[in-house]
Amino acid sequence: MSPWLHKQRNLLDFTLSSLSRRRGKTLGMMAVYTSIVFVLASVMLFSHAIRREAATVLAKSPEVLVQRMVAGRHDLIPARYLDAIKGVRGVQSAEGRLWGYLFDPAAAANYTLMVPTNPRIEPGKVVIGDGVVRARSADPGDLMSFRAHDGALVQFKVDKTISRDSALVSADLFLVAEEDFRRLFGIAPGLFTDLAISVRNPREVTKIAEKIDAALPDTRIILRDEILRTYESVFDWREGMLLVLLAGSILAFAIFSWEKASGLSAEERREIGILKAVGWETGDVIRLKMLEGMVVSLSAFLIGYLLAYLHVFHFGAGLFEPVLKGWAVLYPKYRLAPFVDELQVATLFFFTVFPYTIATVVPIWRAAIVDPDTVMR
């Protein structure tokens, strides 16, 4: 091993023994530091993962949606609009969708009713999401009754339930047959809630949307990218709000760490004097103290980040769930897919480890340039 490596090893060994000498101060500092990294990393990991989740879910949704507007409100769209759309070059397929919301007084919750095209549901039967299962304690084979638009009772037999894996989007789903949907809401055949369109070339989406808009002036065109942006804004806003709330504690930590890291005790000053007197260069002393700062901040960062990872991806982010996810009666129970963004880690690292190390070094530098003969007096 080269002398340089021996020197670094010796300095690191001495750093660790220095830290263990001030065990109380070091552990206290690390505990506060770790909690701050934990909180910030939890918020960041959660927001990022949920944004990705939304993007993954939306990846399967149609690229373009067409809704009819009447007097500025969303209205049912006639099936003949499909012919006009299919005539636009670049449109791969277009189909009418039936969906809506149904309030269930028994569970005091809103269900999202949909008519799936593949596989089709038999009339009189229903497939329900995990949230509905929990709200109504319903099992396959149970009967569920609702009042239709005209007051008549419509009964459904639970055919099966949707697995919890897709709970983020399926928790409140209530999948029924087309006939049952139309009967429940009194929607005449030939009318749809909206139209879902897929295009051949994704780069032509905007152009095709413009053409549809020109051909059907009373419609509203919604692009998948726009929905994604809306989701991102919502989560950005929530993350920002939480970070603002946390700003107070971050500031308190900044003051605390500055005070702890920058305040040199008389004992520490004496030690610096001794080290210089026995032949340590100013640079060696600064390197030692920088290592001390780095050991504390790096350990706190790694532990804090690891705890945050476990908190978000293994324990469902229990601490921030209500703020970051929002609230609903039929709340989806789901586990986020673990994802770590390098830039995010680097940002957090820069804003936590770097300031602390600097806060440690500045006073040491001031103390370390003092003449070594002070220790003799």
């Binding site: 020197k7 000498r21 060696d284 003449d371 003799m376």
Partner: protein, 225 residues
């Protein structure tokens, strides 16, 4: 080996509380000998020791180590000379609390990048030679005055310096311990080390092992023998 010519040292120069600790010292310290700086409190003996040991620079005058003028060298070079040429035993011993005695002994060698195993072996050997081997793993603050001083001596010797500097080495010791210390000085002298001490203890100044006694008063040399 060390030559001082017209060395003066001022503290707080240019301020109302300016104080001249040394007022024109001419002195030569010979290699392989034991020299004691004697004088009452405030006579400037510790200040003289700091100049000789490269812990501080003179305000005016020259300090030469062999033929090299070291009085105007920047801090970095002084540090280099200090750790390769001098070993220090401070009056309060100045051991680092919370770490073991053997670690205290090794501290001056850390920046030199020596192998830790060899370093540890040398530290233990030094401590054994000073009869404090069994205390190697005791924390510095648990040691008695005599033990702490011997740890400080081992620390001073870890980089095998040519000169050992001791500031008031017997000030915190009883007569028995003082005699033991002088025994160690004799061993150091026998091994070819130059020893420089400050003291106003007659036990130190009048002992046979001491070759030269330099008396100071009010920052000036009053007598040398």
């Amino acid at each position: 080996m060390i030559h001082l010519s017209d060395v003066r040292k001022a503290f707080n120069q240019g301020k109302p509380n300016e104080f001249w600790a040394l007022k024109g010292i001419d002195l030569s310290v010979r290699a392989g000998k034991v020299t004691v700086f004697r004088g009452p409190s405030g006579s400037g003996k510790t200040t003289l020791l700091t100049l000789v040991g490269c812990l501080a620079r003179p305000t005016t005058g020259r300090v030469r180590l062999r033929d090299r003028d070291i009085s105007g060298l920047p801090e970095r070079f002084l540090t280099d000379i200090r750790r390769s040429t001098f070993g220090f035993v401070f009056q309060q011993f100045n051991l680092l609390k919370g770490i073991s005695a053997v670690e205290n002994v090794m501290v001056p060698a850390y920046p030199l990048g020596r192998c830790r195993t060899e370093l540890s072996a040398r530290a233990h050997a030094l401590m054994d030679s000073l009869d404090i081997g069994p205390k190697a793993h005791s924390n510095a603050e648990w040691l008695s005055g005599g033990e702490a001083q011997r740890v400080a001596i081992a620390r001073a010797l870890i980089n095998d310096p040519e000169v050992v500097i001791a500031d008031e080495p017997t000030a915190n010791l009883d007569s028995e311990r003082s005699k033991q210390f002088l025994g160690i000085v004799e061993t150091l002298k026998a091994s070819g080390k130059t020893v420089l001490m400050t003291s106003h203890d007659p036990l130190v100044c009048d002992t046979e092992v001491v070759d030269h006694v330099v008396s100071l008063r009010d920052g000036q040399l009053v007598d040398t023998r």
